[in-house]
């Protein structure tokens, strides 16, 4: 298949890029699955059996929480990554190497910092093999198109994020792609500028006689997706799969306030919550029944406490997307925190609402010392924590190698990334002062004394062995360990080697 550039080289400036035929497929992903192996971990499935078609003259968006593989899918369709299974077609030809009709606008702009605006675009055109005589004109045209006139000789570092992304868009458009790929293009652009860029991109796309014929965009911003696209592919995570495809027939230009617009946004909210935090009641367990262990959602204890405080200040309930909007967080991340709070039984999630449970209310009202105790109690209701706790009690020196703890995680959750879960595990455990963790010896152990801490929000930075107000805190968790005949209190004397305060506590991430 000849590259489109060939056609573009013709003196006639406007080549009709897309024939009128509506059924034509520009680009298609067929049964695409993808696995990857991080440097020190086990193979993870990123995408599971994805089918996706891009037709002429449409804007398609991939919507999903972070980690659902939407950027990976975009890169596979661009030919940057070879899928493990399945195939990508461009104009019905199986893709070999790069997709010739595509250029990409990157989330991080990916501009060469040592080149001026002009040089950045020029270089792309040169590499594309555009004849030197035409380069100057094309550079000028694309600079004009995105409103960069006057900034030709400026270096990217001297520009704001929004202006940098304009350069990114200009560069992508300069090579005249049939399909423009955009990977969360407005993520690092301030909100107002993003607004104008969205409108401008749609205007450029709407000019029917010119490329790009279609746009494939990755986003996690629901309003943005509804504003821009004709078709919305909702993706779910672990592994990435298509949850639903929503057609968006709203007339352009679109109005954020129109009832139809809000209705579509609502619909997407329903789809996402229905998939991410389903209302299907989890099978309630009899007290002594062994449930399968729960994967710990990636959420910091401080975030979980934060969401509880947030709810408490709003009469105990709020819409999950409202929370995302108000806290300016990606909805996927907020959902993770909500799921974590739900796992600890602090909140309930009827539909899209997040509601404080009595347990959650008790937690919010408690003093910081009581909070730690409640937290610990809740942790020990979870199978993973309970198992590690019991293992540790059995150990003569009340210590546990992290390897062993990780093995427990792998055994319980074979399909998860144990490294990440272990990280969350230690963060939660330290926050409840259930276990301490010594990074140097790689061992988990019981804290020497459950010392009073001024504020639990900044997690386990114990200021040495606090010997003042510790005694009351020695209280055992209310769920007694099932098998621990010999040990009464998990504080053996040789625990004097409490980890010294280290400059790098796990609160980094």
């Amino acid at each position: 298949m000849a590259l489109d550039i060939k056609e573009v080289k013709d003196p006639a400036p406007t080549v009709p890029a897309a024939p009128a035929a509506g059924t034509l497929k520009l680009c298609e992903a067929r049964d695409v699955s993808h696995f990857f192996t991080p440097p020190n971990g086990k193979t993870v499935q990123a995408l599971d059996n994805i089918n996706l078609t891009i037709q002429p003259r449409e804007v398609v968006t991939l919507l999903g929480p972070s980690g659902c593989g939407k950027s990976t899918l975009l890169r596979i369709m661009a030919g940057l990554i070879q899928p493990t299974k399945g195939q990508v077609f461009y104009h019905d030809q199986p893709l070999k190497g790069l997709n010739t009709g595509v250029s990409i606008v990157f989330q991080s702009f990916a501009l060469f910092p040592w080149m001026t605006v002009t040089e950045n675009i020029q270089t792309a055109l040169q590499a594309y093999g555009v004849p030197p005589a035409e380069i100057e004109e094309k550079v000028q045209k694309s600079i004009q198109m995105v409103g960069l006139a006057g900034f030709e000789e400026t270096y990217p570092r001297e520009l704001s994020g929004g202006m940098q992304q304009r350069v990114g868009i200009a560069r992508a458009l300069s090579v005249d792609p049939e399909i423009l790929f955009m990977d969360e293009p407005f993520c690092h652009v301030d909100a107002l500028t993003a607004e104008s860029l969205r409108a401008e991109v749609i205007d450029i796309w709407a000019a029917h006689d010119k490329n790009p014929s279609s746009i494939l965009m990755v986003s996690h911003d629901i309003a943005e997706v509804v504003y821009m696209s004709d078709r919305i592919i909702v993706l779910g995570a672990n592994p990435g799969h298509v949850v639903k495809i929503v057609e968006n027939k709203l007339p352009r230009p679109r109005d954020y306030r129109s009832p139809d617009f809000t209705k579509l946004v609502e619909l997407l909210h329903e789809i996402i919550t229905g998939h991410e935090i389903p209302d299907v009641p989890e099978p309630q367990l009899a007290p002594n029944e062994l449930p399968s262990a729960e994967a710990l959602p990636e959420a910091l204890p401080s975030e979980i406490v934060g969401i509880l405080e947030y709810l408490d200040a709003r009469e105990g309930k709020e819409d999950v997307f409202r929370i995302a909007a108000e806290t300016d967080r990606e909805f996927g991340a907020v959902i993770q925190v909500v799921k974590a709070a739900e796992l600890l039984d602090f909140v309930d999630t009827p539909k899209r609402m997040v509601v404080l449970t009595p347990e959650g209310q008790r937690f919010v009202k408690a003093t910081s010392q009581e909070r730690q105790n409640i937290w610990r109690e809740q942790l020990l209701k979870l199978r993973l924590f309970k198992q590690v706790y019991e293992m540790m009690l059995k150990h003569p020196r009340k210590k546990l190698d992290t390897d062993l703890a990780q093995e427990i995680i792998i055994f319980n959750l074979p399909s998860e990334n144990y490294g990440k879960i272990f990280e969350t595990f230690t963060q939660w455990a330290q926050f409840g002062n259930l276990f301490a963790y010594d990074e140097e010896t790689q061992k988990l152990f019981f804290p020497r004394k459950r010392a009073y801490k001024p504020r639990p929000k900044t997690n386990g930075k114990t200021e040495g062995p606090g010997d003042s107000a510790g005694s009351a805190a020695l209280g055992e968790p209310s769920v007694p360990p099932a098998t621990s005949p010999e040990s009464s209190a998990p504080t053996p004397p040789e625990q004097s080697v409490a980890a010294p305060p280290k400059p790098d506590e796990p609160s980094k991430n």
């Binding site: 790069l98 590499a127 093999g129 555009v130 100057e136 790098d504």
Partner: protein
């Protein structure tokens, strides 16, 4: 700076009033005298090069006489400078090839990088006998062989640093830029020139600076050496110095030191500084520590018309200048012919390299076998002695440079003044100062066994100072402010805040210093004094120099292998671990 270029030097109003008829006017606004100076410089350079060429192709004399008059110094300095620059060019070419090969071919990488580690640890002197003998054999009638040998020995003092730096940079090109280059279909040449080399530029320039200093280090040895009963000597600053020492000519010795200093300052001002400032253009992140650096010479050049013309030629019209590569319109998936060809070529070279290495190792082993056990024991004992000296040198250097470096680095004003000076002082080849130290040692009655530690310190301390200053400058001001707020002062401040703050830098400095100290041992444990009188002490360095001079190749090989082994294993077992600790625990990252 950029603005100045944009406007072509002249004030704007003129352009508006006179339109295109400003050619005459603007010529006078530009400093025409700069061009005159540049042209004069060019003529001088051509004259000098002609002189060098005559020297090189001249009839080979086994032993030339060095003219010790001060008037001869400029000529000798120029000769040495030419050797250094030529060696640098070779280093650059080697670096490009080697680093690219290692970075792009994962199979070759597994051999090339450890090999580099080993090569780096081999003292320059060991390369000498085979090099000199081979090259003199190939050019029996002219000086080319000997000159090349000297140049290549300088090259071995320069190159490793640069190669490591480029390799490191090539491996850490930001992923998103790499992706963009792929999406926009850069071919390998475009990728190299538009992405990889620009990204590597800053590191390469700084390391080039350091490498050049490393090249000067053995100047006195490289230009005048004995091999068995043969005495090889080339006209240059190094041989001038060694003859001056042998003759006990104090005036000439001081003259040589001054000439060396001037050459280093000149190189710094006319070459490295402009390069460093120019390389700022390639920085990826905002606001680096070098922001305030200026180069008067670069500004000066930018005002010259010749330079502007050149810049226009090379810079302004890349679109027109590079029509040579309009080919890659077609999709070029991985696995095309060119790619396979490159891979095949790489494999052939790799196999050849491995074969060469094996052959070399076998030959070495043959030589090694000729060393009997008592001699081996002797070498090991000497190795222990030198190891002790190296550690002592590093420790003593650290002891004085940490407080001084903190003092300089914590004061912005002081560091601005001191840093360039330290850079120049660090570039000065310490062996040239040995005669003076030797005199002091003789006067105070210090034995060379201890004195050689001091000689080592003379060369290595700067690396630590350098890094401590940089580390102190990098301690965030909010950390220092919070220390102040909590009344953390004195020893506690040092222990709890400053030392951890500079720790990664300190370790880097100590690693460089230790490597350098090993290398220095070959000149500090074996010193030639007045009248060619040799002072040597018990140590591995002395053994290597002695074996070279006596042309005792089995001993030379054995002691070199032991030294390389010690250096590499010490790096692996000790320094690398310390470095990891520094990176993990004490990194003040964002």
């Amino acid at each position: 700076m950029e603005m100045k270029n944009l406007l072509g030097g002249g004030p704007l109003p003129f352009k508006k009033v006179w339109g295109n008829a400003t050619a005459l006017l603007s010529r006078y606004q530009k400093a025409w005298w700069i061009d005159v100076i540049l042209l004069l410089g060019l003529v001088g350079l051509i004259f000098g090069m002609a002189n060098v060429a005559r020297e090189w192709t001249g009839v080979h004399r086994p032993k030339i006489d060095i003219d010790l008059s001060l008037w001869a110094l400029p000529k000798y300095t120029f000769f040495s400078l030419c050797r250094g620059l030529l060696a640098y060019l070779i280093s650059l070419v080697f670096t490009l090839v080697y680093a690219y090969w290692a970075a792009k071919d994962p199979v070759a990488e597994k051999v090339l990088i450890p090999l580099l580690d080993i090569l780096q640890s081999i003292p320059v002197l060991t390369f000498m006998p085979p090099l000199v003998l081979a090259l003199v054999y190939f050019f029996p009638t002219s000086n080319v062989g000997l000159e090349l040998a000297a140049v290549i020995m300088m090259f071995t003092g320069q190159v490793w640093n640069m190669t490591f730096s480029l390799y490191q940079s090539l491996r850490t090109v930001p992923h998103h830029l790499e992706e963009a280059a792929t999406v926009y279909r850069f071919n390998w040449f475009q990728k190299a020139t538009k992405l990889e080399l620009p990204f590597a530029a800053i590191g390469l320039v700084w390391n080039s600076m350091m490498s050049m200093a490393g090249g000067w280090f053995f100047l006195t040895v490289n230009e005048a050496f004995q091999l068995g009963d043969k005495d090889f000597r080339l006209p240059g600053l190094g041989s001038y110095m060694s003859v001056a020492v042998a003759n006990g000519d104090w005036k000439a010795q001081v003259g040589a030191v001054v000439a060396m200093t001037l050459m280093i300052v000149a190189l710094d001002q006319f070459l490295w500084r402009p390069l460093v400032v120019w390389a700022q253009k390639f920085r990826v992140e905002e606001g680096s520590a070098e922001d305030f650096m200026h180069s008067w010479f670069l500004d000066f050049l930018r005002r010259s018309q010749i330079f502007q013309l050149l810049e226009k030629l090379f810079h302004r019209k890349p679109a027109v200048a590079a029509p040579a590569a309009p080919a890659p319109a077609a999709p070029r998936p991985l696995g095309t012919l060119g790619f396979r060809l490159a891979r095949g070529l790489s494999l052939v070279f790799f196999l050849a390299l491995v074969a060469g290495l094996l052959y070399g190792a076998w030959k070495l082993l043959e030589l090694f076998r000729q060393v009997d056990l008592p001699h081996l024991g002797l070498i090991l004992g000497e190795a222990a002695a030198t190891l002790g000296r190296v550690l002592a040198a590093v420790a003593v250097s650290a002891l004085w440079t940490i407080p001084v470096g903190l003092w300089i680095g914590l004061s912005p004003r002081l560091s601005r003044i001191a840093q360039p000076i330290v850079q120049i002082v660090a570039s000065f080849p310490a062996p040239m100062l040995f005669p003076i130290v030797l005199m002091v040692m003789k006067a105070t009655g210090v034995a060379l066994a201890w004195g050689s530690i001091f000689l080592m310190i003379l060369g290595t301390q700067w690396y630590i100072l350098f890094n401590v200053v940089a580390g102190a400058m990098a301690i965030p001001s909010d950390l220092r402010e919070s220390a102040k707020m909590f009344h953390i002062t004195g020893w506690r401040l040092f222990r709890k805040v400053l030392l951890p703050g500079i720790f990664p830098f300190l370790v880097t400095g100590m690693i460089t210093a230790a490597g350098n100290a090993w290398n220095t041992s070959i000149v500090s444990e074996y010193v030639t004094d007045k009248g060619g009188q040799v002072l040597m002490t018990f140590g591995l360095g002395a053994q290597i120099t002695d074996a070279t001079n006596k042309a005792d190749y089995p001993m030379l090989v054995a002691s070199t292998v032991v030294m390389a082994f010690l250096v590499v294993s010490f790096n692996r077992l000790f320094w690398k671990r310390l470095y990891r600790l520094a990176e993990e625990k004490y990194a003040l990252g964002k």
